[in-house]
């Protein structure tokens, strides 16, 4: 391979990455310029023109993909400003998906090393590989957000907001309180739903599916109910004041963690509902509630800001 072949190969690689309409013209110009550069360098240092000299020149010129990219306007899919948030969301999301996915195969009895390896294989095939939907979804989401910001910059203008202000109008917050009370009633007496929709004529198996076991009713139910009811005064305080005071915020965190602990205790302690199918569904949703609550608490802690100097202030 001589110097000419090296340059031809390089130019072809660059041109192949360019839009078709400018490809040939750029290739013709680039080849002429590279030959001229090579000739000039060879004359300057007194060495002849050979393949090694050409490769040296082209290494300095840059990878064909980099050079081709410089010929086109910069294309940004994810804004550099979103880079860290994208990476963070990818890592946290993947960790949760992989963690939850790992619980399922490990939940089944494992009696031997073979069972363990099979569980890992199952996890790899059913969780790890399919989990790539998550970064894909994030790329699309961040990409659309970046495009929207560029297309309609006014939509992403920063607006001041009180950090402790509660979301929604007073009416919406009052409706939220009604929703909580209603939800508590359904949790206490789930048969009520069947009576309302089927007029008390639902199949006995439907009633069985929504019947709590005695163990739950005697052990966890009083704690769970108390923890849920404790949310009501907090909600009323928010409705009345229109903001989340520091005390309310701290109380919410403590209640959330206590609720997570109570749910984990409930899930691990034994059956919750009489029918196995509804039992499995209920436990699945309880675990989801715990996971999302812990994520929410974690995010709030991570995002909390307490302005303070990290060096002593000199008077």
């Amino acid at each position: 391979m001589n110097a000419n072949d090296v340059i031809e190969s390089y130019v072809a690689d660059v041109a192949a990455l360019l839009p078709r309409k400018q490809r040939n013209d750029v290739a013709f110009e680039l080849r002429a310029l590279l030959n001229e550069e090579l000739q000039a360098k060879a004359e300057t240092d007194g060495r002849g023109v050979d393949a090694a000299r050409a490769i040296e020149l082209l290494h300095a010129f840059g990878r064909p993909a980099d050079v081709a990219a410089r010929y086109r306007p910069t294309l940004t899919v994810i804004d550099p400003a979103d880079g860290y948030r994208f990476l963070q969301a990818t890592i946290i999301g993947m960790a949760i998906i992989w963690g939850v996915g790992l619980l399922m195969p490990l939940w089944q009895p494992i009696d031997s090393a073979g069972d363990f390896l099979r569980a890992l294989g199952q996890w790899w095939g059913t969780t790890v590989i399919p989990s790539l939907w998550w970064p894909g979804l994030l790329v699309v989401g961040f990409g659309v957000a970046a495009w929207t910001r560029r297309r309609w910059p006014q939509t992403s203008e920063w607006k001041p907001r009180a950090h402790n202000q509660s979301a929604g109008s007073p009416v919406a917050r009052a409706m939220g309180l009604v929703g909580i009370v209603f939800g508590v009633y359904i949790l206490v007496d789930p048969h009520w739903l069947l009576d309302v929709f089927w007029g008390g004529r639902a199949a006995p198996s439907a009633y069985e599916a929504l019947t709590y076991t005695d163990r739950v009713l005697h052990r966890q139910a009083p704690f769970l109910l108390a923890l849920i009811l404790l949310n009501i005064p907090l909600f009323i305080a928010i409705i009345v004041t229109g903001r989340r005071s520091v005390l309310v915020q701290r109380s919410e965190t403590v209640l959330s963690l206590a609720m997570c602990a109570a749910i984990v205790w409930t899930v691990l302690d034994g059956p919750i509902l009489m029918a196995p199918a509804s039992e499995q569904t209920a436990k699945f949703f309880l675990v989801l509630i715990v996971v999302f609550t812990l994520i929410d608490v974690g995010i709030k802690l991570y995002r909390s800001v307490k302005p303070a100097p990290n060096l002593p202030i000199e008077a």
Binding site: L30, A32, L33, N35, A40, D66, V67, R70
Partner: protein, 119 residues
Amino acid sequence: MCYMGDPDAFSKLELELRRGVVVLATLSQLCAPRYGYELRQALAEKGMPIEEGTLYPLLRRLETQGLLKSEWKIEDGPPRRYYSLNADGQKLLKQLTEAWQSMNDALNLLLKEAEHERE
């Protein structure tokens, strides 16, 4: 005075400074038609060397942006593409020159103050 800290940091920051003036330097040399290699030589001789891998694609980008006009010509050697400013390029050069001079004046003032304080 020489920066004695992280040499990598110095080269990165110097590169940033250079990037900021590459377009202005290039436009300033294209009042008369020039082809890529000739332009690079002209810039290097005046103390503004720009890597070929940066300059040649830049000429195409500026042309795509409607700031340069170009034509293929054969003078003494192979066919070459000559670039020069069009009307929009000339206007932009004028605006960028004014902006640069204003920044340069401000920076000179700041650096002089900093030098006095160091002394």
